[in-house]
């Protein structure tokens, strides 16, 4: 680290605030010898510059008497702001009374007018910056107890101090152990902590041969500020290999996100939030170890932020529309409409149609999916009741129950309340759960499924065959319906193995006494093959795409006429 402290490549930035251009120019000439300088002619301009999240200032030189917004107000506003609070302020004045008042509000030092000689001013600025940086470093605890690396606070305090003195290009790297939650859940917290310690040791080892510092950012994410290199992929793979063996041969998934820091630009916190975003972008994608932050990723983040902030409005304004895809029983002489799956669409008033693929996984990550699910449950219940009134028949509708819903202990009563409100039988709201969501935490799932079935709900296992614990899960969770994932159906006619797999899954369903629904059926040949295998129910574009409730109503009408027709034939 010594090398950091002695080199001086990049300059710290100082903001000079004075309404007199002569004073600004004079100070600018003095300070630009050692610092980057920025200027503001009044408090308002100063606050505008300071509010730029990409700009990092090490010091503010502030005139107290200015038009528009005076220096006292600037001090107060900075004190009230989490990010600006740490920037030391030197006030420039010749008023003794003002000095007392400003030191009470939090100024670090004074420069009197007329100014002292340049050397004196530079020395005072330098000392003030140093003191404030030392203070912020001393304030934070240095080491993270679990990983042995720096704590997050210390790391960033250190970085602010370090950056102006660096003369080599650096990268911000976020390292994350994918699905670390599972390790804690399955092996326990103690073992989880031990693995975090191993990761911390590996990072420390790496830093003995490179310039850099590291901390544990949060939970299982590490931040490494490191001299730029081009072998992050190799590095991550190597670290994962070592980590696997330290973790007793368990296979861990290490992911790295990299952001190349632009010298003199931006705030270290932003660099690392970008590195972290790059890392999160490859979460769960098998075989991808490393990703770089890109503009595209930035735009996606902005887009996601927008979606998150618009959810509540969208629910209130009913911008979410539920579509219904019909499911047909194909085992009789003619396919019979038996039920529907509720699928959500988002018609955003400004962004237009947003695919569920864009927002479902996003909302699953942050828990907002609970609101969406609840909305769909109520919509579906309303619709079932409406169709009953219109056509005198009850069409069961499948709705999604996400992982977070399952962990909500109020789930069972929420669903029952909806049914009571619309006076519907529980068998009419079929609940789809996804197997992949529960590895390692099946207890609550089993409990919830048992409770719900007791109340009369039917449980469907969605995307069957795509998860990694399928068979094991099936023996302990009572399921009424298995839904075969559409990727098997799509491949079954081209790929002998996929064909065999579908046959086997239908056999398994038979063994478990569960009905089988095949999703994504598009062709007649697929339909025929599935019928031959004994698949009961089919859904897909062969019959119909998801439809708005009214259009679905037409299918119900048609179905009722055909039923009458077939009764008449008999």
């Amino acid at each position: 680290m010594e090398r950091f402290m002695t080199t001086s490549g990049l300059k710290r930035r100082v903001l000079i605030v004075d309404d007199e251009i002569i004073n600004r120019e004079l100070l600018g000439a003095i300070l630009s010898q050692n610092y980057d300088t920025a200027f503001a002619a009044n408090g308002e301009e100063a606050m505008e510059l300071l509010s730029d999240p990409e700009a990092y200032y090490s010091l503010i030189l502030l005139d107290l008497m200015m038009p528009v917004m005076d220096g006292f107000e600037v001090i107060e506003r900075c004190r009230a702001d989490e990010r600006l609070r740490r920037i030391p302020i030197i006030v420039m004045t010749s008023e003794k009374s003002a000095e007392v008042r400003s030191i009470r509000t939090g100024a670090a030092d004074f420069i009197t007018k007329p100014y002292d000689m340049p050397e004196v001013i530079l020395a005072r600025c330098e000392r003030t910056i140093e003191l404030s940086e030392d203070e912020s470093i001393i304030r934070s605890t240095e080491r993270d107890k679990i990983s042995g690396l720096y704590t997050r606070d210390y790391f960033f305090a250190y970085l602010h101090r370090l950056i102006p003195r660096l003369d080599v290009p650096m990268d911000a790297v976020a390292l994350n152990i994918d699905r670390f939650q599972l390790i804690n859940e399955i092996l326990g917290r103690q073992e989880g902590d031990r693995i975090l310690k191993c990761a911390g040791d590996l990072i420390s080892d790496m830093l003995t041969s490179s310039i850099g510092i590291a901390c544990r950012g949060e939970n299982d994410t590490f931040f490494v500020f490191i001299e730029r290199r081009d072998d992050y992929l190799e590095l991550t793979k190597q670290m994962q290999k070592k980590l696997d063996s330290m973790a007793g041969g368990r296979h861990l998934h290490l992911k790295a996100g990299v952001y190349s820091c632009e010298p003199g630009e931006g705030d270290p916190e932003i660099w690392f939030s970008r590195a972290k975003a790059a890392c999160e972008g490859i979460r769960g994608s098998f075989g991808t170890y490393c990703a770089r932050y890109s503009n595209e990723l930035y735009e996606r983040m902005v887009f996601y932020e927008r979606l998150i902030s618009d959810v509540n409005d969208a629910i209130e304004n009913r911008d979410f529309v539920v579509y219904y895809q019909p499911k047909y029983n194909i085992q009789g002489e003619r396919p019979k409409l038996v039920s529907a799956e509720a699928l959500i669409r988002w018609n955003h008033p400004e962004l237009g149609f947003i695919s569920p693929g864009e927002f479902i996984s996003l909302f699953e990550k942050n828990g907002l999916i609970r609101k969406i699910d609840y909305y769909v449950w109520r919509e579906a219940a309303t619709q079932i009741k409406r169709w009953r009134k219109l056509y005198g028949t009850e069409i069961p509708v499948s709705v999604n129950v996400s992982r977070v819903d399952i962990f909500d202990t109020g789930l069972e009563s929420k669903l029952s309340d909806i049914l009571d409100e619309f006076s519907l039988d529980p068998s009419l709201l079929m609940l789809e759960i996804t197997e992949t969501a529960y590895s390692g935490s099946a207890d609550r799932l089993i409990e919830a499924v048992d409770n719900l079935r007791e109340k009369g709900f039917r449980i469907e296992m969605d995307d069957f065959g795509t998860g990694y614990s399928s068979l094991n899960m099936l023996t302990s969770i009572p399921i009424d319906i298995l839904k075969l994932d559409m990727q098997f159906i799509r491949r079954m006619l081209m790929d002998q193995k996929a064909y065999r797999l579908v046959e086997m899954m239908i056999d398994i369903a038979g063994f478990l006494d569960a009905a089988v629904v095949a999703e994504g059926v598009e062709k007649e040949e697929q339909l025929k093959a599935l019928k031959k295998m004994g698949c009961d129910i089919v859904q897909g574009f062969y019959f119909s795409p998801p439809l708005p409730a009214e259009r679905f109503g037409e299918l119900i009408e048609k179905e009722l006429k055909e039923r009458e027709g077939s009764y008449a034939d008999n």
């Binding site: 007199e20 002569i22 120019e25 000439a29 003095i30 010898q33 010749s94 007018k113 007329p114 100014y115």
Partner: protein
């Protein structure tokens, strides 16, 4: 044209002024050139004419800072006197003092324009 020698004749402590400008002569002369146009001179004159001593104090105070920074000693000393009098809201012959200050400003302006 304004030169260091002429500023010296004007009474400025040019050694100090130049040192404050990091010995950058061009910068020093450029900043002195800006001074005569500073609006605080007019604000000061007008505020005194209207009897607004608060405003007059602010303007004098601001001028004092600039004049001191440029080491224009005669003007700085005069302006300091005005500032201190205004600070205590003392009864004084402000008109004469300010007229003298403005006259010096005009001399400087002429020097700059020549």
């Amino acid at each position: 044209m304004l030169t260091i020698d002429r500023l010296k004749d004007f009474g400025a402590d040019t050694d100090e002024g130049l040192a404050r400008c990091c010995e950058n002569e061009a910068l020093y002369l450029r900043l002195v050139n800006i001074l005569p146009a500073d609006e605080n001179f007019d604000v000061l004159e007008k505020a005194l004419a209207e009897g607004d001593l608060d405003k007059a104090f602010e303007a004098a105070h601001a001028l004092k800072g600039i004049l001191g920074n440029l080491s224009l000693s005669p003007m700085y000393e005069l302006c300091s006197r005005i500032t201190e009098l205004l600070r205590s809201r003392a009864e004084a012959d402000y008109l004469t003092l300010v007229t003298e200050l403005l006259a010096q400003r005009d001399v400087l302006r002429t020097m700059c324009a020549e």
